[in-house]
């Protein structure tokens, strides 16, 4: 009997999924690239405080954007959440986001971390840093991203594939800072300095340094947090063998990227969606991101995570992050030309 009931419920539920796209009050539909515990905690908290339910579809940002395009006016999405400013810019260009103007959000998000036209807003910050083997490299040998292309690093750098968005964004920031010709030369220089052909994720680059295969690696701070708090002792050992260096402190600052969100163009629950972004950018939610997910808050100096604090404070590149999107496809093409896999 119980079994039957359950079965019926299940059938009913799947039927509902089939027909349901009509908006029911007090819920918002979220398309998200992020799948972190911190988000889950925050979503639950938001629902508890406001009574607004959050429906989630997870997927890679690009696929979610494609999906919003193909859904057009019928798209049930209210919010798009990604882990990179470049993708948010692409979503804006694709016409799937809408501009909003909220005083609270504008106060909560520094101007360089949101779209100049109000189409998307940063939620958390990650810095792309250099890690180095404590036992082989002295921090004063390191200086800038540009320096990584010089011959002194030949065979010493571990960095992931150019298919990765964080590298593409770093490249976009270099194009913006130095022009495309020098950026291409930089990419060729770094490619020649690689200890091995790129593979794996950011953590694998740190592993390569720890194993002695390379001396330095370019990685996101978030991944260092994962390694440091891994359940596997092997990972924690890897983390303990390296130190963090923030490049370009004497000029424009370290390249940063954001996780961010924008309201869908055809959102049917706009005001609730704005409330949600206001909530995520609030100081209280910002603290949760840092503690649970090793991400910097939007105002980096407010960082409360002990791990992130242990790496010291740093100066971040103040360039408006929409540039990462504007320069993205050029970055990919330059990587191709530099034969950076």
């Amino acid at each position: 009997m119980i079994k039957n009931l359950k079965k019926n419920h299940f059938l009913l539920a799947s039927l509902l999924v089939l027909i349901a796209s009509a908006p029911i009050s007090a819920q918002i539909n979220l398309y998200t690239h992020r799948h972190y515990d911190s988000d889950k905690i925050l979503f639950e908290k938001f629902t508890k405080e406001t009574g607004i339910k959050i429906n989630v579809i997870k997927g890679s940002a690009d696929q979610l954007i494609q999906r919003m395009i193909s859904e057009g006016k019928n798209s049930p999405a209210d919010i798009l959440l990604t882990v990179d400013a470049g993708r948010l810019h692409r979503a804006k260009e694709a016409g799937v986001l809408q501009s909003i103007n909220s005083k609270t959000i504008n106060k909560n998000v520094p101007s360089e971390m949101r779209d100049p036209d109000g189409f998307w807003y940063g939620l958390t910050v990650r810095a792309r840093v250099i890690v180095y083997a404590k036992d082989r490299i002295n921090s004063n040998e390191l200086s800038t991203y540009e320096d990584l292309a010089t011959a002194k690093w030949k065979g010493k750098i571990a960095i992931r594939s150019s298919g990765n968005i964080y590298n593409q964004s770093l490249m976009a920031s270099l194009i913006e800072a130095n022009g495309s010709r020098r950026a291409l030369r930089w990419a060729i220089g770094v490619r020649k300095n690689m200890a091995r052909a790129p593979r794996g994720n950011d953590r694998d680059q740190v592993r390569a340094v720890a194993a002695g295969l390379a001396d330095i690696a370019v990685v996101n701070t978030y991944y260092l947090g994962i390694l440091a708090n891994s359940k596997e002792k092997k990972d924690r050992d890897v983390f303990n063998k390296v130190s963090v260096f923030f490049p370009n402190q004497n000029n424009r600052g370290t390249h940063i990227n954001i996780s961010g969100a924008g309201i869908a163009k055809y959102s049917k629950n706009k005001s609730d969606a704005i409330k949600f972004i206001e909530f995520l950018t609030s100081p209280e939610a910002q603290e949760t991101f840092g503690k649970v997910n090793y991400e910097y808050p939007l105002f980096i100096e407010n960082n409360k995570s002990d791990l992130l604090k242990s790496w010291g404070t740093f100066k971040a590149d103040k360039q408006n992050l929409s540039i990462l999107g504007i320069r993205n496809s050029e970055a990919v093409k330059l990587f191709d030309r530099a034969d950076w896999k």
Binding site: H35, I57, N74, G163, R196, R199, N201, D202, G212
Partner: protein, 538 residues
């Protein structure tokens, strides 16, 4: 087909059966046709792609395909031969154990071996210090290809093993005994009789291995080998150029088409003298003690690499990350996966049965022709089909503004049917050809209604085939990743998407729990399939 034929077909063989079958066949083909149409749209980044990365994609794809194909054939044929024709201790165990790697999707295998390349670190460092950097880098590239091929082959070889084993068992009796009585030794029999005879089966298995290799995204991405499939994603999503991505997809399909043609040619030539004679059990070759030990050792390697080690590691990780179970609501993942796979397998089999029957019963060439289009989906990577579906639903959304197609369970099921239609179609087609042809001819001339013939005669006759077909589709659906990833509805996660989500947020350890569930759920029908095959052949 000639115009005259088409006219005849339309005049004499169109009835509600063939009409519906043709329509369904074309609908199943629609998403793929969307991809083809895009070929003619201009792509701004195509010249760039051709100049820079195209040759890399091509070379890598070919190297990977050849490497995986060769290694899988080597393992598959060897295991099939000793299991089918030799007698040695533990044979009963290996007989089914060697199939188990098929339960592991390639991306899960890659995650289970995510750090395998670290094994080569000491060697690489030694080479760098004692020879030079360049030597180390070439050696590193070699290791990358080697281990990727190893990881892929270790879970794909069972396709060849299964088909070759069936073929060896079939020929066994007469040919091998004849060979022995003519004084040939066992080596000669294998190379001169058994292997050439099993060639069509081996090629059929090989073509499955190749398609799976080309379809793989997770493993090549993880090991950093840029292939066509990863290039498609990079161009589509990284450069935002869908038509460039589709052009790459078209080249990939061209490559597949060439391979399929080669396979078909190899098969049709050999089918000519295939013997379907008696299937009595035959006297097996009893291996000496020394040979038995070697055989057992050799059979253990694929089982170890393809199943035991990954499952062991995943279990270990699952153990240390038990607390994740709460967060991922495992029960609903299992339910969703099962619901989706069962629905897809039933629908696919029913549709395949309808299409095959309509084509065969009414001897409708036009239906056979459209059927061929409907089965193309299996050779198209899941991601490409998903792109076709997105295009299709965008067009439909434009016309009928009220329907929302993407993100409904219905469209996901439809996508699965397009992708796996061939998996059900192939066995049903050959089953009906073998078992029902004459009786259908008879019932047609007696004027018995088609529906009666289908239900009372055809279905009972090919009941086993239908069950096998639905199991095969079920297994493929459980393992499928890219389609579900791109097209899933709100709050709808399956075991495979949960595995991918967790591992893509750098939690490979945590992803072990849903991954293990896939393996366990798939292993059960896999073993039952093995038993079925055995009963039929022995």
């Amino acid at each position: 087909m000639e115009i005259k034929h088409v006219k005849n077909e339309l005049l004499f063989k169109t009835n509600s059966w063939t009409f519906i079958a043709i329509l369904i066949g074309l609908i199943i083909f629609l998403p793929i046709s969307e991809v083809f149409i895009q070929l003619f749209n201009p792509s701004e980044s195509w010249p760039h792609l051709k100049k820079t990365v195209f040759s890399t994609y091509l070379i890598n794809t070919i190297v990977l395909t050849i490497g995986t194909g060769l290694l899988s054939t080597l393992i598959g044929v060897f295991c099939a031969w000793v299991i089918a024709c030799c007698e040695f201790p533990l044979k009963k165990f290996f007989e089914w154990a060697l199939i188990l790697p098929l339960a592991i999707p390639t991306y899960v295998s890659a995650y289970a071996y995510f750090d395998i390349l670290e094994l080569s670190n000491p060697i690489l460092i030694w080479v760098r210090e004692n020879i030079n950097l360049e030597a180390m880098q070439s050696l590193n590239s070699f290791f990358v290809y080697f281990f990727t091929i190893l990881v892929l082959s270790s879970v794909l070889y069972p396709y060849i093993y299964l088909l070759a084993r069936a073929s060896f068992l079939k020929q066994g009796n007469q040919l091998i005994e004849a060979g022995l009585s003519l004084g040939h030794n066992i080596n000669e029999i294998f190379w001169k009789i058994a292997l050439p005879m099993a060639r069509p089966a081996v090629f059929a298995g090989l073509s499955l291995v190749i398609m799976e290799t080309l379809n793989d995204y997770g493993a090549v991405k993880h090991f950093g080998i840029p292939t066509f499939t990863s290039g498609i994603f990079r161009t589509w999503l990284g450069m935002g150029d869908m038509s460039g991505a589709l052009k790459l997809a078209a080249y990939l399909m061209l490559l597949i088409l060439i391979l399929l043609l080669i396979e078909k040619k190899a098969r049709s030539r050999a089918r000519y003298h295939e013997n379907s004679g008696s299937n009595k059990p035959f006297k097996k070759i009893i291996l000496s003690r020394k040979k038995s030990i070697v055989t057992i050792a050799l059979c253990s390697i694929p089982f170890l690499f393809g199943f035991l080690i990954p499952v062991f590691r995943l279990s270990l990780w699952a153990f240390i990350s038990q607390d994740v179970i709460r967060n991922i609501s495992l029960l609903s993942l299992v339910k969703n996966s099962l619901f989706l796979s069962v629905a897809v397998s039933l629908l696919t089999v029913v549709l395949a049965l309808l299409l095959v029957f309509s084509a065969k019963y009414f001897q409708s060439k036009l239906t056979s022709f459209t059927n061929r289009f409907a089965i193309l989906g299996y050779s198209v990577p899941g991601a490409v089909i998903a792109m076709g579906i997105l295009l299709l639903s965008a067009q439909i959304n434009k016309i009928y503004v009220d329907i929302i197609l993407t993100g409904s369970l219905l469209i996901l099921i439809f996508a699965f049917i397009t992708r796996f239609f061939a998996v059900a179609w192939q066995p049903i087609d050959s089953g009906m050809e073998k078992n029902c042809k004459n009786i259908n001819d008879a019932s047609r001339s007696l004027g018995i209604p088609a529906i009666f013939s289908l239900i009372k005669v055809n279905i009972p006759l090919i009941k086993n085939t239908l069950i096998t077909a639905s199991i095969l589709v079920f297994i493929d659906s459980m393992k499928e990743l890219p389609l579900t990833l791109i097209l899933r509805p709100f709050n709808f996660n399956t075991l495979s998407t949960a595995t991918f989500d967790l591992s893509s947020q750098a939690q490979i350890v945590e992803s072990s729990i849903p991954a293990l569930c896939i393996i366990m759920i798939v292993a059960i029908p896999l073993i039952s399939l093995n038993l079925k095959g055995k009963n039929k052949l022995q």
